[in-house]
């Protein structure tokens, strides 16, 4: 094949660390996994039922590019009641194919070649490639465990250059489970404003915070709505990953450009999913509460078992992951995860899949039943004990 056949930019993208690990796991039939980044709950039946009903009624056509008006109105009312944010559903909102599409659109709508995008890591895998594909320059901020993986004003200030345009805010965080509270965000605001940055705030896990700490959107702070693209979706809160539905809200000029790209590439988000999502927003609050309770119970359970193993782990307050430190064993995260998989047949994702600074950590997902967690963590405990006795 010709050397110049493929796009250099795409070929140059790093393969996802998750993908690499997946290929190893896929060969093992009997491995048990704590590696999944999606809820174990089924989508609540009343939501599925609305999807089915919409199909029965023949709602099988495109919706408007920005999404069903009904759905956007429900999103507006959701953001009003949870964050006291006012978004006009007509011009400041776009329904997308998952939060991922919204991230991609935001980058493509904003970045000119050479613009720098600040990406705090460890964080979700798609920020870096979407920046690169949009000809931006990803600049990583290495979050620290001693700060509970929160972004500090010093770290932010130090990363800013005259070329910085965007700050990605990945909270509640996958893979660390970290959250940013209101006072943490408030310290960042003057810096963001002074340097005239746009914030791409990925709030897909916003409903999953624990210990009575409610998520605060950075867009809700004074002066921030006008410079924030708020990204959210239905995957985590309503256990709707396979429906592929998310949304972006932000200033009209940015949403207009994002909608233009969306219109050419996607046309509209899946119609069935949009009808189901209307039901989710209208009547799904009890489901969220039920799932949040269950996650919280598992979170405490996992932290307790890790503490018994003596694996240091900061207490995560969001999402459904814990991020224990394995530096004591003198292995890389990759080595640890691969050996654990081979010897104990447990799949846990190495922290490095979420950025180089995830080295020395593992991401354990607790989107599993207590019984599954017990079994898998039992094997991890055996493995850890064996390593220590060597």
């Amino acid at each position: 094949m010709r050397d110049d056949l493929l796009a250099k930019k795409t070929v140059g993208l790093k393969p996802s660390g998750i993908r690499k690990f997946f290929d190893i796991v896929a060969d093992m039939k009997d491995a048990i996994s704590l590696g999944v980044g999606e809820p174990d709950f089924d989508t609540p039946w009343h939501i599925r039922d609305e999807g089915i009903y919409s199909l029965e009624k023949g709602r099988t056509f495109y919706t408007s590019n920005a999404g069903l008006k009904e759905l956007r109105m429900e999103i507006a009312s959701y953001l009003k009641r949870t964050q006291n944010l006012d978004y006009r559903y007509m011009h400041e909102m776009l329904v997308t194919v998952g939060g991922s599409e919204a991230i991609d659109l935001a980058m493509r709508a904003l970045i000119n070649p050479g613009d720098e995008v600040l990406i705090p890591q460890p964080s979700y895998v798609s920020y870096e490639p979407t920046v690169v594909l949009a000809d931006g320059v990803p600049v990583f901020i290495n979050l620290k465990e001693e700060n509970r993986f929160r972004l500090t004003p010093e770290e932010l200030e130090a990363a800013i250059t005259p070329k910085t345009k965007i700050l990605v805010m990945p909270y509640p965080n996958n893979p660390t489970g970290a959250i940013m509270e209101k006072e943490d965000l408030e310290k960042l605001v003057p810096i963001i404003v002074r340097h005239d940055l746009i914030v791409v705030s990925d709030e897909i896990y916003c409903e999953l915070t624990y210990g009575g700490k409610k998520h605060v959107s950075i867009a809700s702070l004074p002066g921030m709505q006008e410079r924030t693209i708020l990204i959210n979706g239905f995957s985590k809160a309503y256990a709707m990953t396979g429906w592929r539905l998310g949304y972006a809200c932000g200033p009209e000029p940015i949403i207009r450009q994002m909608t233009k790209i969306h219109q050419y590439c996607i046309m509209c988000a899946p119609t069935t999913s949009q009808y189901a999502a209307v039901e989710a927003l209208r009547n799904g609050d009890p489901d969220i509460a039920m799932m949040r309770e269950a996650y919280d119970e598992r979170r405490r359970f996992v932290l307790h078992i890790l503490a018994k193993m003596g694996l240091p782990c900061f207490e995560p307050e969001g999402a459904f992951y814990v991020f224990p430190c394995i530096k004591e064993f003198g292995m890389t995260s990759d080595e640890f995860a691969t050996t654990l998989l081979k010897e104990e047949k447990v799949a846990i994702v190495p922290g490095t899949a979420f950025g180089d600074c995830g080295e020395g950590y593992l991401r354990i997902s607790y989107a599993y039943s207590i019984d599954d967690l017990k079994k898998a963590l039992g094997r991890l405990a055996d493995f850890v004990e064996r390593l220590r006795s060597k």
Binding site: F22, A26, S33, V36, E38, D40, E297, F301, A347, I370
Partner: protein, 163 residues
């Protein structure tokens, strides 16, 4: 009802065999608190028993379950209490509900054979002087019982590793 008790009930309703130490960890409290709460719930008659969900169909042991609609004449001053008590005292009677609508009491009965059930209805239930009529339905198959789907075990069909 405090929230701790409510959480305990929600969890043990699904799994009454859960370890109390584990329950304490999950709910972020001490085991002694859990034990005290359970004791109180038992004393207050809120927890009335710890039963096991059994799919008898799979055991090969013959059992029939009947759902019987009973119409009765309520007694002056007693209402339905008296007749309900007469019926629920039979050990073969599993469940007795007072109903709104077309009949008064719903009685769920378990017997070894159809004959057993028929015998109970004709000899014991129908002969009670306040009972004015019965309609017996036999349960052919249980798909879901007490919120548990009997037919198949839930499988994890998610991809094994995802971001």
């Amino acid at each position: 009802m405090n929230t701790l008790k409510e959480r305990i009930l929600t969890i043990i309703e699904k799994n009454s065999r859960i370890d109390t130490a584990e329950l304490a960890v999950m709910l972020g409290t001490e085991e002694s608190e859990i034990l005290d709460a359970l004791q109180e719930l038992e004393n207050d008659g809120i927890i009335c028993g710890y039963h096991t969900m059994i799919n008898w169909d799979k055991t090969g042991i013959e059992k029939v379950t009947a759902l019987i609609e009973v119409r009765v004449t309520p007694k002056r001053g007693q209402g339905f209490e008296d007749i309900a008590e007469r019926i629920y005292k039979y050990p073969e009677v599993n469940t007795v509900y007072l109903m709104s609508g077309g009949y008064d009491l719903m009685v769920i009965l378990e017997g070894k054979t159809l004959k057993d059930v028929a015998g109970f209805v004709t000899n014991k239930l129908s002969t009670l002087d306040t009972v004015i009529g019965t309609t017996t339905h036999f349960i052919l198959k249980k798909y879901k019982d007490h919120g548990t789907i009997m037919a198949k075990k839930r499988e994890d069909i998610r991809e094994i590793v995802t971001p």
